[in-house]
Amino acid sequence: MNERELRDRIRHDAPDHRPGFWEDLERGLADDRDADLQIRAGAADGGRDERLDGGRDTRLDGEDTRGVGPGGHRTVWLAAAAAAVTVAIAGGLTLALTGHHGGGATAPPRPTGTADVTPTVRDIQTLDPADVAALVRDRHLSVTGIAAGGRLVPGTVEEARTWRDRNGENLLVVLTTVESTMTGGRPLYVTVHVGHVANLDGPRPRVLSVITDPLFRGAAGGCRIVNGRLEDGYPRFSVEDATVGVTDLDGDGQAEATVAWDSTCATDVRPFSVMQVLTTDGRTYVLRGQGYPEPPFAAAKARGALAGLPEASFTAEPAANDWPAGYLTHMHDLFFRQFGLHPPP
């Protein structure tokens, strides 16, 4: 291949831009200019950063942070039993909540995530993966999508909701990416990504928050690995649709969206790691827990079968005392939903 041919080949190697690239860019540059002019004119109101990467990006590294964490995070201890749950926030505040096991004939239907509709949050829709792919394509979310740096992570769509509130049309999407697999294809290391995009109906959607949670990092869900092989189980995770909800707890017209997932080493009595996330207008509130919360385990625990094993614990991020009123209780309800238990009255 001579020099000219090499040049031609390389020149033709790069793909064209996606449709709408230049239009999006011009809108973005104009927005940037207008924001700059406002700041110069002293008209900036301390509002949000409108850049593509302006959304908050929270990385949850899966470390065991039980106990009081950095920055004074408090631990929420939760002792699950058959008929009563006591929630105690380290530092003195204690809440006693009452619940019942679900799963029987009298169990209520699980919330669908659309039950908490208030007038300020409307048009809540559940999207299937094809809908999400279409949304990504139609709104060019490759640019304003969900990931650190503003790119939608190609992965498996676990859950997705859209709704309307003061931020226009919103999207909450939960994606998982398999970082590595075992022989046979079962996931070994998985990352959960939760993204919240607002203003989907405007010219320039904004990524409000992104959370990534690498599951099983270096621990394979607690499964034993001997000589590079899993010995006594396999890592399992699940994103519970019952925990995906959109509501307006504080009535400010900006929805609070929730989702929770759990992971463990299957086929063995091992603690679950539980993640509960609430995101609203770029702020995220997380409960990270560990314990034996599933009804069979709770029942076994009630019978004393699991005596001596550690109780479930949750770490609140930020510290529980810093959560807005009602958020923590809402998340506790979520915990019941996640594991098929009745929320307390």
Partner: protein
């Protein structure tokens, strides 16, 4: 100096994008050579162009606008590649469709596959060096300024890239004629 630059500095978006369009093919070639992902290429270029827009006042004209833009695009692409290194699981169907549709001429031939294998087999640094020196015609010194390297490093990258391409494609290999 191009008369569009002062207009762009004054906030004229169209003047700025007119300039960008003039250099866009070169920037696409450079970013594509680093990231090899159609979606990521667009993201990188959008980010890089926005960076350039926000930093126009810092462009003093000591280098050409094209070289200045090259530098921004290259550093943005390398940053993006680092961020994306662990996320290259391309399972959204439309992403795969687009990658397939944009990876070259409609007709895939053995020669095309050989070219893809050879070109993809180079490191991002080597591909970028080839684009800057062979395609863009930058000197080793200019390419080094873009990449934040030394001229000798650029020369070495280009040399090794040529060797590897030659090893896969052969001295007399000719590229397939573009179709469609």
């Amino acid at each position: 100096m191009d008369e569009r630059l002062p207009r762009a500095r004054g906030g004229d978006v169209r003047a700025f994008t007119s300039l960008l369009r003039e250099h866009d093919a070169a920037m696409r070639a450079l970013v594509w050579s680093v990231v090899r992902d159609a979606w990521l290429m667009d993201d990188v270029l959008q980010t890089a162009y926005e960076k350039a827009w926000r930093n126009l006042e810092t462009f003093r004209g000591e280098a050409s606008f094209r070289t200045w833009l090259h530098r921004i695009c290259y550093t943005t692409a390398v940053d993006a590649l680092r961020q994306e290194a662990r996320r290259r699981h391309d399972r959204l169907a439309d992403h795969e469709d687009r990658a397939a549709a944009t990876s070259g001429p409609a007709t895939t031939t053995i020669r095309r596959l050989e070219w893809d294998r050879a070109w993809s087999g180079l490191s991002p640094d080597q591909r970028a060096a080839v684009v800057l020196v062979v395609v863009e015609g930058l000197s080793y010194e200019e390419a080094a300024r873009v990449c934040g390297s030394r001229p000798g490093t650029i020369a070495s990258r280009v040399g090794r890239a040529r060797e590897r391409l030659r090893a896969v494609l052969g001295e007399d290999a000719r590229p397939t004629e573009e179709q469609g």
